[in-house]
């Protein structure tokens, strides 16, 4: 992959992260916000990989995208439902 293509993919990913971050603030349902935040983490993992930090990408994908999303979901189940 050429450098400009990499930069384009990184820019698109970053823009998607910004849009998703704003969307997570605006959505009404708590569960939607949690899933969107998980998507932001997954995009961050892609960005880390594009910036030649594959080990950080692995950590971000497993902790940021998987673990913290599930912990938020469990916390939501524990406080008992919607905002």
């Amino acid at each position: 992959m050429t450098a400009s293509l990499l930069a384009a993919v990184a820019c698109v990913t970053g823009l998607m992260m910004i849009v998703a971050g704003i969307a997570s603030l605006l959505v009404k349902k708590l569960i939607s916000a949690i899933i969107i935040v998980g998507f932001v983490s997954l995009s961050a993992s892609v960005l880390f990989f594009l910036m030649h930090a594959p080990d950080v990408a692995i950590t971000e994908a497993s902790i940021g995208a998987a673990a913290s999303t599930v912990i938020f979901l469990w916390g939501r189940a524990r406080i008992g439902g919607e905002e």
Partner: protein, 232 residues
């Protein structure tokens, strides 16, 4: 509404701050100070061809020990708080898809995590990412809501043994070479082989076991106290 707008402004400001920094990270090609030393002498010093691992485990191994201690205190605090707070809400049984996935995938994910840990000195990864991957396999098992009797005790045992192993490996370096976590107390071998780089693979294993058991303990504490729902 005002809260949403304030939040949006904060997010945009943070995004602007982050994305204004990125190009500068991309174009600086020259290394300075410690960075250039690691790049030039890292392989010869530690025998690890993955320079990130040689910095994390060998050169700055003491920092990693501190990091593991921070993780330990955090997980202890989470388990303590969760054991004090009364549980609300009602757990629901997982769907057929989650149950089937949780039956098939954890073995493969665990294997991949162990691969990342044991090849930390050869390919990207090491103790911390590999341990996190193993813990996410454990998380999948918990999501499938299978009860794991005795898991908490075993996790505590693994965590303690791994921490002890990390400390002992460090002080082995003090005893032999007069330097904490010196990787040369074992023969370096030829860089690029699986058995090489002195004690770095062993330290990676200790870090991986400790991180995996600590994160798994945090996950398990969310699901303890008979909250587990048996699949239908």
């Amino acid at each position: 509404m005002i809260r949403s707008i304030t939040g949006m402004i904060i997010v945009l400001a943070l995004a602007a701050a982050v994305f204004s920094v990125i190009p500068y990270n991309g174009v600086t090609e020259e290394l300075h100070g410690a960075g250039s030393y690691y790049a030039e002498n890292g392989v010869a010093d530690t025998g690890s061809i993955n320079l990130v691992t040689s910095v994390v485990v060998a050169y700055r191994g003491l920092d990693t020990l501190g990091e593991v201690v921070v993780l330990f205190s955090a997980s202890t605090a989470v388990v303590l708080i969760l054991s004090l707070v009364p549980m609300g809400g009602k757990p629901t049984a997982p769907s057929q898809i989650v149950q089937t996935t949780a039956r098939i995938l954890p073995g493969a994910i665990t294997l991949f995590g162990i691969y990342i840990v044991t090849h930390g000195h050869l390919s990207p990864g090491g103790g911390f990412p590999g341990g996190a991957v193993v813990a996410s396999a454990f998380l999948l098992v918990l999501l499938g809501s299978r009860s794991l009797p005795g898991a908490a005790g075993m996790l505590t045992a693994v965590e303690s043994l791994a921490g002890l192993a990390f400390g002992l490996l460090g002080f082995w370096g003090v005893y032999v070479m007069g330097q904490f976590l010196n990787s040369r107390v074992l023969p370096g071998g030829s860089p690029g082989q699986l058995i090489s780089a002195g004690i770095i693979p062993l330290v990676s294993l200790a870090i991986g076991a400790k991180v995996a058991s600590e994160l798994s303990g945090v996950f398990a504490s969310y699901r303890s106290k008979g909250e587990t729902v048996e699949p239908d």
